[in-house]
Symmetry: C2
Subunit: 151 residues, 2 copies
C-alpha cells in the first residue's frame, strides 16, 4: 500500500498548503466583497500601496509583490484607476516607469476594509493557532516563499 505513487506523503503535505490557502481566501474574498465591494485582490493591492513610501509603487514592483505577471499587473492597475482608488503618475527619472499611487479615496476604502479583514483573520486564522505556532508558521512560510538555492 505504501508504494502507491498516487498517495505520496510529500504531495499531500503540499496539498494541505494549497487547500488551506484556497479555503481561507475564499472566505475572506466573499466577506470583503459583501461588506466593502473590494475583492481580496483589490484589497491586497491597495494595502501594499498604502504601506509604501508616498503611497505608491512602480507597476512592476506591485506585480512582483503580488506574484502577478507584468500584463496582469497592468490590468489590475487599470481597474483600480477606473474605480478611482489609484492614479498613474509618470516617474521623473525613468520614463519607462509608471507609478501606481493610492488616492485618498483608495486609502479611505482600504482603511475601512482592514477592520473587516482583521476580524475575519482572527476568526479563521489567528484563533486556530497558538502564538508559538503562528511564529513558527511564519518562519517556515517565509523560507518557502523565498527558498534557498541548495538542497
Amino acid at each position: 500500500m505504501a508504494s502507491d505513487p498516487l498517495a505520496d506523503d510529500r504531495i499531500t503535505a503540499y496539498g494541505r498548503l494549497v487547500e488551506a490557502h484556497r479555503r481561507l481566501s475564499r472566505i475572506f474574498d466573499r466577506r470583503l466583497r459583501a461588506e466593502t465591494g473590494l475583492s481580496d485582490t483589490w484589497f491586497e493591492a491597495l494595502l501594499r500601496l498604502g504601506r509604501s513610501p508616498d503611497r505608491q509603487l512602480a507597476i512592476t514592483e506591485l506585480g512582483d509583490q503580488m506574484v502577478l505577471t507584468s500584463g496582469g499587473a497592468t490590468r489590475l492597475v487599470d481597474r483600480l484607476v477606473d474605480a478611482g482608488y489609484v492614479t498613474r503618475e509618470a516617474c521623473p527619472t525613468d520614463r519607462r516607469v509608471q507609478w501606481a499611487r493610492l488616492t485618498d479615496a483608495g486609502l479611505a476604502k482600504v482603511t475601512a476594509a482592514i477592520e473587516i479583514h482583521l476580524a475575519d483573520l482572527d476568526e479563521h486564522f489567528t484563533s486556530q493557532l497558538t502564538t508559538a505556532e503562528l511564529d513558527q508558521l511564519g518562519a517556515v512560510l517565509d523560507r518557502l516563499r523565498d527558498p534557498s538555492p541548495a538542497g
Copy 2:
C-alpha cells in the same frame, strides 16, 4: 509606528501563506505544463480521481476537494473529458449524480506527471524544511483547512 493599521502583524502572517502558495504553484504549474502538457489544476484533478475508489468521484465531491464551485467543477470535468482523460458515468442509484471517472489514458498521464511533480516538490518544498517542520506545518495547515468553530 506600531500603530499603523496598514502594517498589522496578523495581516503579514496570512500574507506569507498566500505568497508561499502563489510562488510555489506558479513554479509547479509551469514545469508541469512544459513537460507534460498538464496544468497544475488538471494534474490535481487527475490525481484525486486516481486515488479514489474505482478511480472515480462525483463531480460535486471533486469540486469540494479542490475548493471549486459546482459550476467550476462541471467545466473542469468538461475539459478533462474533451482531452480524453476522464469519462462521465451515470450513477445507478442516484440519477442526479455523474461520476467523473479516470480513463486509462488519464491514469497513464498522471502517473508520468508525478515523477516531475515530486522532483519539483523536493527541490522547492521538502528540501527547505526539516522533517519536524514538515510534520508541524502539516498539522497546523490541517487545522486551518478545517477550522474548529469556537475562538
